[in-house]
Every structure is written in structure tokens, then in C-alpha cells.
Symmetry: C2
Subunit: 347 residues, 2 copies
């Protein structure tokens, strides 16, 4: 996906040159279709198939807090349906009040991203879920204790057998992660912008269309492109000036350089998807900016060296609001979990 987006990004450069000629809606739609793609129905792959039984199980695991150390944290703690799959905090809080180092991105459409986590140190949703189930911050349990806990909730056994019929030992952290990720791969949110890309020009207001034009013309779409409107490449945060001067960040995060130890990755982060961005404040890897207009201004300044005017910011925000889709019904409505208490040594 990184390659695709890089190709698209160079296509954008050409489009930017001809943007002044795109005077009418047809031309804008044609431009947009070269840069962006509409959402698929789900985001399964050959290695990560989405099965009905897997999704049914994964949806329950996603909402179940009983397999973390104090039985009070689940995936849904940082990815709350009521907050569009986020926790509305700058950075998240895990088990035993332990701080997570970065902002929780929405889980909606998360499977579109070419890698996971801000620094790209999770290969896939499956990898992310597996590591989260064992992490001291988000779980606080050892792998064997996670499995023991889950096995004690009797109602889960038949769900695992249905989802993993060929596994002699169906309940493992790996199968849990596979099921959770299968569920997450169904959490897609078609938006007015997808209707627009499908040809319904009126799905975007004139202001949003002006914003789309500015979004492409100014260069935002060089990175925020593709089906995710972002999520397809790495980029340095702070190309023109240091990001913390514009965001007021309290600490300086070196980004991907801390993962790869490569100086070329200093302040490099995964470009986030902008789908549902109007519903998922605060912004950036450290949640340092509270509102969308301010986030747009920061981006213009530190990434593009552009001081966007208030009307431009207003238009871009209207475009970004068109990326909000409805919550998937299987996310808005929580499942009933197999009942059972977990009484641990330290209650």
C-alpha cells in the first residue's frame, strides 16, 4: 500500500499543476478519483480471512474486560464506540492506570493502514491485537494467564471451536488476536465522500467540494491519499519546521527512529487515515491539538510551509467532515458476553 500511495502522490503533483484548470465539478471528481478510492465492504486478505464465526467471537473478545489483569480494560476501553472508536484522550490509560505513550487512533477502518501504531511497529491488526493481549500496559497478564482466564469463562469454548475448527487447541492468544482482528476488519464506515467518489457529486456540499479542491491543490493529498485518505505511508512530522513549535507538544517524540535506530526516521510517523477525523479529537501522535481547524492549520504550517487562510481552513474542515460515516451496527451495539465472574487473588 505504501507503494500505491507513493505513486498516487506523484500523480498528485501533476494534478496540482493542472488544478487551476479544474473549474467544474466533473473535473474535480475526475481528479479526486485519481487520488482516492472508495471503501471496500470489509478488509479481508488471503492471510486474514473474515469469517462469520471469527467475527462473532472477535466482537465478544473486543468488548470483554475480563482477560486483563484487573478485569477492567478491554479493546473497547481505548476504542469506545460512543467516541467513534477512540477514547478522546491525548494519550490512553491502560491497566493499573499505566500511561500509553501515544494517542489511540480510531479502530474504524484501521485495517486499511499499511502498518499499525504511530511508529509502524505493529505489522497488522492481528499483530497489534496479539501484542496488546500480552502488553504490560494494555493487559498486565502473561500469555498463559490470558488463556487460563478465558478458558474459565465457559461460554467461549464453543465460539472458539466454531471459529477455529481445525485447531486442536483453539484457545490461544494468537487465535484470540485473529478473531479480534477479523472483527475489526469489518468495521468500515462508508461516508458521503464515498458516495461522491461513486459519482454523487451532491453528496458533498459546495463548501466541502471547495475544501476537497484546496486539499488536493495545497498538497495535503500527497500523503493523505488512497482508500484511507492516509494510512498508506510514513512521513516526517515537521518537514518545514519542528512540529512541537506548532503543536505545543510537551515532549519530543523521535517517532520511528526509536524503532529502526535509523537517523533518517527521526520524527517519522505513519500518516494517519483521515476517515472520521471530525469525530476523533484530539489530534496527532500525542493528542496535543484539541480541534480540527487547529490541526489543519498546524499541518499546513509544518508540513507544507503554508499559512492557510480562515476560509481555506473552513473549506478543508467541511471536506474532512464528509469523511464521517455512520458507526457500523455491530460496533454501535455491543454483544452480550458469555456470563461469568472473574474472582482473582487481588479483588
Amino acid at each position: 500500500m505504501a507503494d500505491t500511495c507513493l505513486i498516487v502522490a506523484s500523480a498528485v503533483a501533476v494534478l496540482v499543476a493542472s488544478a487551476a484548470l479544474a473549474a467544474d465539478d466533473t473535473a474535480l471528481l475526475a481528479e479526486a478519483r485519481q487520488v482516492f478510492q472508495p471503501l471496500p465492504k470489509d478488509i479481508s486478505t488471503a492471510e486474514a480471512p473474515v469469517t462469520k464465526a471469527g467475527v462473532m467471537l472477535g466482537r465478544r473478545l473486543f468488548f470483554d474486560p475480563r482477560v486483563t489483569v484487573d478485569s477492567n480494560v478491554s479493546c473497547a476501553t481505548c476504542h469506545q464506540p460512543a467516541l467513534y472508536g477512540t477514547d478522546a484522550r491525548p494519550t490512553s490509560i491502560g491497566v493499573k492506570q499505566r500511561p500509553h505513550p501515544r494517542n489511540a487512533p480510531t479502530i474504524l477502518n484501521a485495517a486499511l493502514a499499511f502498518v499499525n501504531h504511530w511508529r509502524g511497529d505493529r505489522e497488522s491488526l492481528e499483530d497489534q491485537a496479539e501484542q496488546a493481549l500480552k502488553s504490560p500496559i494494555t493487559s498486565g497478564l502473561e500469555e498463559r494467564d490470558v488463556v487460563d482466564r478465558l478458558a474459565r469463562i465457559g461460554g467461549y469454548a464453543p465460539l472458539f471451536e466454531a471459529a477455529f475448527p481445525n485447531d486442536a487447541q483453539p484457545i490461544t492468544v494468537k487465535t484470540m488476536a485473529a478473531a479480534i482482528a477479523a472483527y475489526e476488519r469489518t468495521l468500515v464506515t462508508p461516508s458521503p465522500f464515498d458516495a461522491y467518489l461513486a459519482g454523487d457529486v451532491a453528496a458533498l456540499s459546495p463548501t466541502a467540494r471547495a475544501g476537497l479542491q484546496t486539499f488536493i491543490k495545497t498538497g495535503c493529498a500527497a500523503c493523505h491519499c488512497g482508500v484511507g485518505i492516509g494510512g498508506g505511508m510514513y512521513q516526517k512530522f515537521g518537514i518545514v519546521e519542528d512540529y512541537w513549535t506548532a503543536t505545543g507538544s510537551r515532549t519530543i517524540d523521535k517517532g520511528r527512529a526509536d524503532v529502526t535506530k535509523d537517523p533518517a526516521d527521526l520524527y517519522v510517523f505513519r500518516v494517519p487515515s483521515l476517515r472520521n477525523v471530525a469525530m476523533t479529537a484530539p489530534y496527532f501522535h500525542d493528542g496535543s491539538v484539541a480541534t480540527l481547524p487547529d490541526a489543519v492549520r498546524v499541518m499546513g504550517r509544518v508540513q507544507l510551509g503554508t499559512k492557510l487562510s480562515d476560509p481555506e481552513v473552513n473549506d478543508i474542515v467541511a471536506f474532512l467532515e464528509s469523511l464521517t460515516g455512520d458507526l457500523p451496527p455491530e460496533f454501535a451495539a455491543v454483544p452480550v458476553l458469555p456470563p461469568a465472574a472473574v474472582i482473582t487473588a487481588q479483588h
Copy 2:
């Protein structure tokens, strides 16, 4: 409601004497109708009216974690839809990992109870919500900070104006509590047992009907009576022997005596409603017992001086399972909250 149940309880004593005569289903239904009542559609009162605008607002507040100290605890933290309005923990964990002293009862049908909290030190759901919004355990904020936080989430203002059109200052902790409680008053779960009380004898299995008979005959219904099948009176926990000998409780809770300072209230607690009890483990004020059969055995032993046989326990559990209703749709599906980040000093 306490008086009603006491009257019903004395009626039970008469019924118990004639229980051997109630050989057929018609007689059992007639008995049951004297002891129990079906659920109303909602649980509004003259002082606590349930308005559409109030419920709409209260539902959002119920799920919103942003008005507690670290923006990570809401009513739904201890009263999770996926866990039938509980947290499945022996005792709850509040803000900053602070322990709550007692087990979180389900919020479903909670408005039926004559008082709230295990020791009866909350007069109503409105009182409970108001105190929870200011409590160091569940909120961690001062009253004025709660209001400040909420006022900063712009989308709430019109919802408060609609719900409290006559209030010059609509956003207060008191109106928040009134709205939350109005929502909670709609969370009723009609069950197979309600269909039974309405005359559909086949809504209960023969085993459940045998359990109902045993439940009445043995004396359980002396306290677990009325519309809530409990929730209508206080009772000492451990009438025949100390409760902690049977439950294995690690600490001895003096119950209501710590509230009233009256020695007559030693080990006295509010009798809990048994609606949805099969879905709301663990059991008792300290969550010391993990399974429903064990909880039934403990009750027989310490309250009634009866060693229930395994078939009797089995039958009673089948009856108790008939008290499980579907989750109300407006509880199973969470609302989308007005978007906004809360960036506090300590993020």
C-alpha cells in the same frame, strides 16, 4: 415499596403453609401472582418524570467518560452493557484505580429498588448519580469542574436546553444526575417470568416452575418478592449463621450499621433484585461467590437454615434464569457522543 413487600412477605407465610396443596400450574400461577408483579414499561414517578429529551441526554451522559478526572471512567465503566449492566468484578475500580468498597449491581431495572446502594445510603437513582458525579472514587472532580468540563463539549448545550427548558442555568450536576436517572428508569428488561405472570404458563420450563414452587415454599420469596423479585426491603445477611463462614468473604462488612450507627442494622443490607441474576455474577455485596448455584446454596444456609438438595438448587437456578430479559435496545446500542477532546493539565 418497603411496606408493600413486607405485606407481601407475610402473605407468603400463609402461602408457604398451603404450598403442598398447590399441585397444579394454575394454583402455582395464582400463588406467584400474589408474591410478584410484572414489570412496568418504565419506572417514572411524579418527582422523576421520564421525558424523551431527558432520556436522550441522560443516555449520552451515561456513556461519556470525559467528565471524570482522567476522562476514562463513565457510568458504563461499572455498568457495562456487554456484561448486563455490571463489571463482572467482585468490587469495582473507579478513577485512578481507586477501589469501590462493594459490588456494582446491574443498572437494569435498578429504578425498582426502594433505596440504592447495598447499604441504602442513596435515596434514589437521581441521588446515586449526583453523588457519583462528585465522588472521589467514581469521579475525582469537584462539582464545578464537572460542569466546566461538560460545558466545554459544545454539543451538549442544546441537549440540556431541550431537556431542561425552564432552567436558567441548565448544566448543573443536579440536571446531569436527573437526566442520567431518567435514562436509567427506561432500562427495564421484561423476562419469560413476566410472560408467565401475564398468564403464559409455558413461558417457564417445567424445571423453572418447580424452581418457582421451591423458591416460594422454602422462603426465598419472603424477601425476594414484588416487581423486582427483591429490592424492596432491608434484611440482615446471615440470619442463621454468619455470612462470611459460608461465603469465604475476606473482610467483614457491617452493612447498614455503619450508615445508621444503629446496632440493629449490623450486617443489614438491601435485599437485591434477582432480575437478570443469571447474567450478573459474582454475587453478594462483596462479590465473594462466583456462581449462581453456590449463591443459592449460601442463601439457603445462612438466611433460611436449609441445606438445599442439588435438584432443588438446579430447579431454583432454572427459575432464576427465567428472570433474564433482553437488553433494552437503547442500552445494547451506545449513542454517539458530541465529539470533543478533553485535554487536561495532566495528560
